[in-house]
């Protein structure tokens, strides 16, 4: 197997491109994909301050590394959600990387700073821990980005994430979500910061190769709450299709973005956005879910 670019020994075979790469040429390919995505969707440029959301996993670590290496003005942001050893280990990975590469990072600990406990909230509100975590993360990413004057929030969502989300949304015809699924979510309110996904055309496997080649430390462990998640099932199904029919995942996403998404714009009802009466952040209710979590946690501690 020969590298398609330099004709040396190819070790990474990308079936959907029918191409093998040596390590150096793979990095060239990876770099080009990221640069192309950023440019094509006008995600940000080198003058912009970009907040990169980091979990300590391979995708976000790859994103942080490549954006910093390419000279973008990036700051990492990690949220310790209090998921036992998993959170402590991932925070350590993030701090080590920032220190080693002299990069700025913002660390937020929801228990220490806001008194939030996802397990107590999950029990009190009868909601899954993943849904509580999602609300907390979305709130904090936007608040930190807005308060810090960042132009964009970048996440490590990859081709597999996007294809799995699309499959889930199509299976239940979630028109509103289909209307909004995009590599760029433009700001719809002066206090909402644009969200971007520079890795949306790269697979999880390609991100894994990127961190392995660059010897970037990352957390192998899966969040204990993700075990059995539907998104993992969708990814497995899509990977089985991909093995038989290479290019399926990328076609699914790119053709949706080019041809499918526009058909959902009419059915997408614009929700009325307000500012939370407590913190001033954007919400659809009088008090945002984050402030309700804090209030509930405080009441529960007092009782």
């Amino acid at each position: 197997m020969k590298c398609v670019r330099c004709k040396g020994k190819g070790i990474i075979y990308l079936k959907r491109h029918n191409a093998a790469f040596c390590q150096d040429c793979f990095l060239y390919y990876y770099n080009n994909q990221v640069k192309k995505n950023i440019k094509k969707h006008k995600m940000f440029d080198k003058k912009d301050k970009v907040l990169v959301v980091i979990s300590g996993g391979k995708d976000s670590m790859a994103l942080w590394h490549i954006l910093a290496k390419e000279g973008y003005n990036v700051t990492g942001m990690y949220i310790n959600l209090g998921i036992g050893e998993y959170s402590d280990k991932s925070q350590q990975v993030v701090e080590n990387f920032a220190q080693k590469n002299n990069l700025e990072v913002i660390i937020k600990d929801i228990k220490k700073e806001y008194g939030l406990d996802i397990y107590k909230l999950s029990k009190l509100l009868k909601r899954s821990t993943c849904s509580i975590c999602g609300s907390i993360k979305r709130y904090l990413f936007n608040k930190i980005a807005y308060d810090g004057g960042f132009s964009a929030v970048a996440t490590g969502h990859n081709l597999d994430d996007e294809a799995a989300t699309l499959l889930g949304n199509v299976l239940s015809w979630e028109e509103g979500y289909l209307a909004r699924q995009s590599p760029v979510l433009e700001s719809t309110h002066p206090k909402l910061v644009k969200k971007v996904k520079p890795l949306y055309t790269l697979t999880e496997r390609e991100n894994l190769f990127y961190v392995l080649i660059n010897k970037i430390e990352f957390l192998h462990d899966e969040c204990p709450h993700a075990v059995g998640a539907r998104s993992i099932l969708y990814k497995e199904v899509l990977n089985s299709l991909e093995e038989e029919s290479p290019g399926t995942k990328q076609r699914f996403i790119t053709s949706f973005l080019e041809k499918g998404r526009k058909h959902f714009q009419d059915v997408y009802e614009k929700v009325e956005l307000k500012e939370c009466s407590i913190c001033g952040q954007v919400t659809t209710t009088d008090v945002c879910s984050f402030c309700r979590f804090v209030r509930l946690s405080n009441q529960n501690t007092e009782n």
Partner: protein, 64 residues
């Protein structure tokens, strides 16, 4: 060869020689969602693995 499933607390002893593709087939592992390392290095799907090699299988799938 020793096959270690990284992060899964699982190890197997498999008889070589065989290619990465054949090992993946034998283990029922999808090469689209897993990466194989031989003695710590990334290897090509057609590389041959021998009895004295240590193979790490890293899953690329995460919950996200």
């Amino acid at each position: 060869m020793k096959v270690i499933f990284v992060g899964k607390n699982k190890e197997l002893e498999i008889k070589g020689p065989k290619t990465v593709i054949n090992l993946a087939k034998e283990l029922g592992i999808n090469l689209e969602s897993n990466v194989f390392l031989k003695n710590g290095e990334i290897i090509a799907p057609d590389d041959v693995l021998n009895d004295n090699d240590t193979i790490e299988v890293i899953s690329a799938v995460s919950g996200g």
